[in-house]
């Protein structure tokens, strides 16, 4: 096997293999969870696609169908680009620049160019797989709904591997200045974290707004058509995608016939993607060279003289929790950046639902606005898990250093207290901010009181639950701290429990609402459910807390 393939294979093995010692049962359980999460996300996305497809092909809507289909296909591609852009930046930086295996590969008798080629291929293949997993089912579903020709499926499938080229070039263009700034400043992770948070927040917020604003049922087809034509600017900016969209639907353009314009459009897409791939290779090569250079330089810079700062044992442990999580970029991202989600949800949903309520009220429908506010509360409840991500891996992230904790004259309750305080000090205010935003934007005294006294405590009990659960079976065997979070069932299951709880309350609310049960009855039912969930978490926390000594004792390294 050539060196290139050996390196590529090693990278995939390293990425995909489960930690040693994992039982078959836990691997299957984990894969089932991933499958369930994927199915949930796809179900939401596909339902949106099917709705759009039906709307476009409904003769009553009087929309110019080919234009709308091209536009929608373009937006599917744009969604793929967004996903690749988001994950691609992180992947490019971590694989090519902040990679920990640079030293390892540089001592092997392999040409640096081959290592680079393998790394770039790794990023490209990974992104293509992500695109295929998310976008391909959407394309197929859309094709089925609009009854597309076979040509649509053939081209969509064949061009799938080229789709990531453009966003990856953009990702490299964005990643290079980030990489430069990060290399110049002392707190690299702070720069990376701020960047990831902005990227994540911006991308997710914009996406939510777009999806929900455009699925607004009160919007007329004419308005959608207007909105779509307003998006022409984007279609010009991402012209290769527009060309591909036109080619799959056989749209005549450039004054040519259908066959000729399809061929020209395909050539435009393939040609421009090939050119972009060359740019991507140059940009990635530059990043990799910088990484190798940085690795070869010994850090001889004199550090600024620090000062001792005294604090209590608990505060010292809390400080340690922040420092150790903040100074590793991937860990910081997983612990802190995701916490922005509840705030984004509250802002984006409040704006979207606020506009919806305005539209409904403008035509004189006496709709109970508390229904929408409750929807936002349920979504918020589902997203509260993100405030507990850091707590759910707090012991796993210790790894072998847990033995250093064990020799300290602080008992497990003290250690636990410090960890809980550390993460509650961030997670609970985040939940509080999100709850306050929803209430300010959709004020109702009863809902305000209920949400403040349920969702904020829910965030606290969830953080406690995460930390205790992690203590009961921490994942301590890892070589890179980010592995303590990746493939960690505590995070995934915790998130699914929260999402499930939020969805369960929302489902009950929908069932009652669409069976004409008045909101004055629905609300107490929903809040009783929320409080029941809060109490269940509280009881589980107490039960787990009673066994902390036992859990701590059985941890062995």
């Amino acid at each position: 096997m050539s060196n290139y393939l050996s390196v590529l294979k090693a990278m995939f093995k390293n990425k995909l293999r489960f930690s040693e010692g994992k039982s078959k049962r836990s691997v299957i359980g984990f894969l089932c969870l991933i499958g369930a999460s994927y199915a949930l996300v796809m179900a939401i996305l596909l339902s949106v696609v099917v709705e759009f497809g039906r709307m476009f092909n409904n003769p009553q809507t009087q929309i110019e169908i080919p234009t709308m289909n091209v536009s929608f296909y373009f937006f599917i591609l744009l969604t793929a680009a967004g996903i690749v852009l988001f994950f691609g930046i992180i992947s490019l930086i971590t694989t090519l620049y902040l990679s920990k295996d640079t030293d390892f590969y540089s001592v092997l008798p392999i040409k640096q160019s081959k290592v680079f080629a393998a790394k770039l291929s790794f990023v490209y293949i990974s992104e293509t797989v992500i695109v295929a997993a998310i976008v391909l089912p959407i394309m197929i579903a859309f094709g089925a709904v609009i009854k597309a020709w076979a040509w649509y499926y053939v081209i969509s499938l064949l061009m799938l591997a080229i789709i990531p080229a453009m966003p990856l070039v953009l990702a490299a263009i964005v990643a290079i200045p980030v990489m430069f700034i990060a290399s110049k400043v002392k707190h690299r992770s702070a720069v990376a974290l701020a960047f990831y948070t902005l990227l994540f927040g911006g991308f997710f917020g914009a996406y939510l707004y777009f999806v929900f604003a455009s699925t607004d049922s009160s919007v007329s087809p004419e308005e959608i058509e207007k909105a779509m034509s307003g998006a022409l600017g984007i279609m010009y900016a991402f012209y290769p995608y527009t060309a591909l969209s036109m080619s799959v639907f056989g749209v005549s353009s450039y004054g040519l016939g259908v066959g000729a314009s399809t061929a020209v459009n395909l050539l435009i897409f393939i040609g421009s993607s090939a050119a972009l791939l060359v740019i991507l290779m140059l940009a990635a090569k530059f990043m990799y060279t910088q990484s190798v250079k940085a690795n070869n330089q010994t850090n001889n810079a004199t550090a600024k003289k620090g000062e001792f700062k005294s604090s209590s044992a608990i505060k010292a442990l809390m400080k340690r929790e922040y420092i150790s999580s903040f100074r590793t970029v991937q860990v910081a991202y997983q612990c802190y950046a995701v916490m922005i989600l509840p705030i984004i949800i509250s802002v984006a949903f409040s704006i979207v639902f606020g506009n919806m309520i305005k539209d409904i009220n403008s035509v004189g429908v006496g709709f109970d606005t508390r229904f929408f506010t409750m929807c936002i509360m349920c979504a918020l409840m589902a997203m509260i898990a993100t405030t507990g991500n850091a707590a759910s891996t707090t012991f796993s992230r210790e790894g072998k250093a847990i033995s250093s904790l064990k020799i300290l004259p602080v008992d497990i309750r003290g250690i636990l207290k410090s960890k809980l305080l550390a993460w509650m000090a961030i997670g609970v205010p985040v939940s509080a901010i999100a709850v306050v935003i929803v209430n300010v934007m959709n004020f109702d005294l009863q809902l305000t009181l209920l949400s403040v006294f349920s969702l904020i405590p829910l965030s606290a009990v969830f953080i406690v639950f995460g930390a205790l659960w992690d203590l009961s079976a921490p994942k301590l065997k890892w070589t890179d701290p980010s592995q303590a979070i990746k493939h960690n069932g505590h995070v995934t299951i915790g998130q699914l429990i929260c999402i499930g709880s939020g969805m369960a309350v929302m489902t009950v609310m929908f069932i009652l609402f669409f069976n004409d049960v008045p909101m004055n009855i629905i609300l107490p039912v929903c809040w009783t459910l929320i409080y029941a969930i809060l109490v269940i978490f509280g009881v589980v926390d107490i039960l787990l807390y009673r066994r902390v000594d036992e859990y701590y004792k059985r941890i062995e390294i």
Partner: protein, 243 residues
């Protein structure tokens, strides 16, 4: 100072005995060497002494505090330097020492005084405000030593402390051990370097396959074994690997 009484530890459902009915008593004001081949049970014993591993049978007490019944009291009285310094590498050296100072309740003046002295001895002043992740193995070992001594513990436990140290630092460490003893405190360390043990230890214990095979005063041992060197004594009672 340190009382290890009939301690045993087994792995693999009791099939492998890592430590087998071990008893030792360490007095105040002595340097005690804990010797054994690879896999003899030294690190397991030290892990039990320091509370990293729970004790399945027997008891260990440090300065009168039972490590199982009163772990906090026991832990306040020792400082530990592990064989592979797994310390918090995201910290700078100063942050690490400061952290331990907070945990053991060391005054600011003592932190400054003790760390300044030890940094000078180990020539680590320049690296003190740099991240530990950038330290060499020896430098990590040195910062672990400074951290272990920041609260002036009565019992200083070291697991293979000479590993990775440069000659001046190894010398400084031996001097520190002697000073610790001179203050009426105790040093308990495991080592493979028999020359070092022979030169600085007041007493040594040799374990093999988890069992104590020899324990005593250096002079007593030599007399009893016909004035042989420690290496020869070791080879005669615990020669070969226990792995």
């Amino acid at each position: 100072m340190l009382e290890i009484s009939h301690v045993s530890m087994a792995y693999a459902n009791g099939k492998i005995k890592a430590v087998d009915d071990l008893s030792l008593t360490l007095k105040a004001g002595e340097i005690f060497g804990f010797l054994g081949a690879n896999g003899a049970g030294k690190t397991t014993t030290i892990k039990m002494v320091t509370g990293i591993l729970p004790i399945k049978s027997g008891s260990i007490s440090i300065c009168g505090h039972d490590i199982t019944k009163d772990p906090i009291g026991a832990k306040q009285n020792f400082g530990f330097v592990p064989d592979s310094p797994i310390i918090f590498d995201k910290y700078t050296g100063r942050e690490y020492v400061d952290f331990l100072g907070d945990i053991y309740g060391v005054s600011m003046d003592d932190r400054k005084r003790i760390s300044a002295d030890l940094l000078k001895r180990f020539s680590l002043e320049e690296a003190f405000d740099k991240r530990i992740s950038g330290y060499s193995h020896g430098m990590k070992q040195k910062i672990a030593i400074i951290g272990a001594l920041i609260h002036s513990p009565s019992l200083w436990i070291l697991d293979e402390p000479m590993m990775g140290l440069d000659p001046p630092s190894a010398f400084a460490l031996k001097e520190l051990m002697k000073e610790h003893k001179a203050q009426g405190k105790t040093v308990f360390f495991s080592t493979h370097v028999l020359d070092v043990a022979e030169k600085i230890c007041d007493r040594v214990a040799i374990i093999s396959k988890g069992k104590l095979v020899l324990c005593g005063d250096m002079d007593e041992l030599k007399r009893a074994q016909g004035d042989e060197s420690l290496e020869e004594i070791f080879m005669s009672v615990a020669g070969g690997s226990d792995e």
